[in-house]
Amino acid sequence: MNKLKIHDVSVVYPAAQGGDPVTALNEVNLTIEQGDLVVALGASGCGKTTLLNLIAGFIRPTDGYLTLGDSRIEGYPRVAVGLDIGDEVTGPGADRGVVFQKHALLPWLNVIENTEFGLKLQGVDKQERRERAAKFLKLVGLEDFHQHKIYQLSGGMQQRVGIARALTNDPQMLLLDEPLGALDALTRESLQELLLDVWRETHKMMFFITHDVDEALLLATRLIVMSPRPGRITHEFELNFNQQFLETRNARQVKSSPEFIAMREKILAIIHGDEIAA
């Protein structure tokens, strides 16, 4: 089984003119295993997105290292000298799918072409990639929109395409940077449910960033709370509200249970503490 290991990772951004260097992440350790749905929560500036960028391979750590299975993730191609961790150095790759807050679909392609884009890059033949893309478009409820242009879709539908696109590529891990942050409450709930269904069925590793405490509690198997200046993980919780939700299919019931409310208060106290300190 592959797992993602983040080992003592720090990221320091160089000083802007006349300022001090900014420590975005300070000695972060985290292991994500098969079937983990890790949600990162925290005040702005706590390094959530930096952490996601590290895992995706878009940036490289100033200190420490990340491994996924046998390969070492580096946001810049270079030879790992004198380190006996991992055989291979890899940047961003098809094993880690990314979904951003604002959809990053390609407007010159229609819905199905966007969804199959990753497979096309990998040289999968047209018939097979059409079939696989169609399967995931059906999963996200867009089977009737194959030929639509991206700019003809609503925000929620665009985000569904983004999720279908990431899934079609069959990554080991899904990285979601506030994927539902720009959506209305109803769409948001239906996509939360969709993501949980996907997670249960595929058992993929997921790393999910959000600002929304309710969303975090409902989705996570593991919740990490991060604090700013310097960005670090301060608390970690094992949760099972998502199991409750998948059994009952009733988000309101789960969210109004005493345990959920108590947990929410606890998390909010932590985050507000950080914001007052800042």
Partner: protein, 325 residues
């Protein structure tokens, strides 16, 4: 006048279907039979009021059509009238003799002269031959500028090394007026066709390169990162994402380049040309044949305008998503 609200009696007349319970704008306006001070209106006055009400209802208004960006809406009919007005003004001042034909010949004379030079020619060639020579130069240079400029601009946008090498060169020569380096081009390339093509090409190259480069940097970082996360190689990112994303800017650059080409055409045809619209205009001005000068100007203007319309049409076909996302 209460044109948008339906009185109760109009509602009660509606058939009892589900659809009819909603007030519909297709219902006829209620009859207005009295004026505001209570006097009975004549049938004619009633008709006027009905028509005014109809006008007020009008067609549905899109959001932002009036209370939105100033200047939105279709201006084509106004443009047509404006064109006709200025041609009319031109005809008026010339036909009445207010301006002498030496300074401004009448539109009728110019059209007659156009027919004349189409059939009999002017300064050694017919209008068709002049036109063919100029169009060959313009579009030859244009093809060359696109063929070299687009890949170069994309390369400059995508590569630090290419940017380092070509940026100083392009930024240095870009603001120079083509007339300033015309002598140099002639010294290097002679006075035949190649120097003319070269001059126009140089004028067109800068806007094409710069727009392609701007197009590259307009591609959203998320689109590039997602492509990498789906296993794209660097080359695939350039060909499958950046080239497409840069296309709207490239097309704009091509439009600007063609405009630069027409401006440079006359300069290019100043030296040792035997044919060409620019040459024809210059030659005519030396002999004070004003109607040929104006005919040439009108022809250049019309062709340039038509080509620009073609480019705009291509934009709507090639990048229908421009500005949508």
């Amino acid at each position: 006048m209460t044109s948008n609200s339906l009185p109760m009696d109009a509602l009660s007349e509606m058939p009892e279907s589900a659809e009819a319970t909603k007030p519909s704008i297709k219902k006829p306006a209620p009859a207005v039979t009295t004026s505001s001070n209570g006097r009975e209106l004549t049938p004619f006055a009633q008709m006027i009021v009905r028509q005014l009400n109809k006008l007020q209802k009008g067609s549905p208004v899109a959001s932002g059509e009036y209370y939105g960006q100033p200047g939105a809406g279709d201006s084509r009919i106004i443009a047509l009238f404006s064109t006709l007005f200025f041609i009319g003004l031109w005809a008026l001042v010339t036909e009445t003799g207010m301006v002498r034909p030496l300074f401004l010949p009448s539109p009728v004379d110019v059209v007659a002269r156009m027919v004349d030079i189409t059939l009999d020619g002017f300064s050694g060639a017919t209008l068709g031959q002049h036109l063919a020579a100029s169009l060959g130069r313009i579009f030859g240079s244009f093809a060359l500028a696109c063929l070299i400029g687009i890949p170069l601009g994309v390369a400059i946008g995508c590569s630090r090394v290419m940017r380092g090498i070509f940026d100083p060169l392009i930024e240095f020569y870009r603001p120079l007026p083509p007339l300033a380096y015309l002598p140099l081009v002639i010294i290097w390339m002679g006075i035949d066709e190649s120097s003319k093509i070269m001059l126009i090409f140089l004028a067109m190259l800068a806007p094409v390169v710069l727009s392609a480069r701007a197009g590259v940097s307009s591609v959203k970082i998320e689109q590039i990162q997602v492509a990498y996360s789906m296993g794209a190689s660097r080359w695939q990112v350039v060909t499958q994402v950046i080239l497409h994303g840069a296309l709207p800017d490239i097309l704009t650059g091509m439009r600007i380049a063609i405009g630069f080409g027409w401006t440079t055409l006359v300069a290019a045809e100043m030296v040792a040309a035997e044919r060409g619209i620019g040459f024809m205009v210059l030659n005519a001005s030396e002999f004070l044949v004003t109607d040929v000068v104006i005919a040439g100007i009108v022809i250049i203007g019309v062709i340039a305008y038509l080509f620009d319309m073609l480019m705009r049409y291509m934009e709507t076909k090639l990048v229908p998503w421009k500005g949508q996302i």
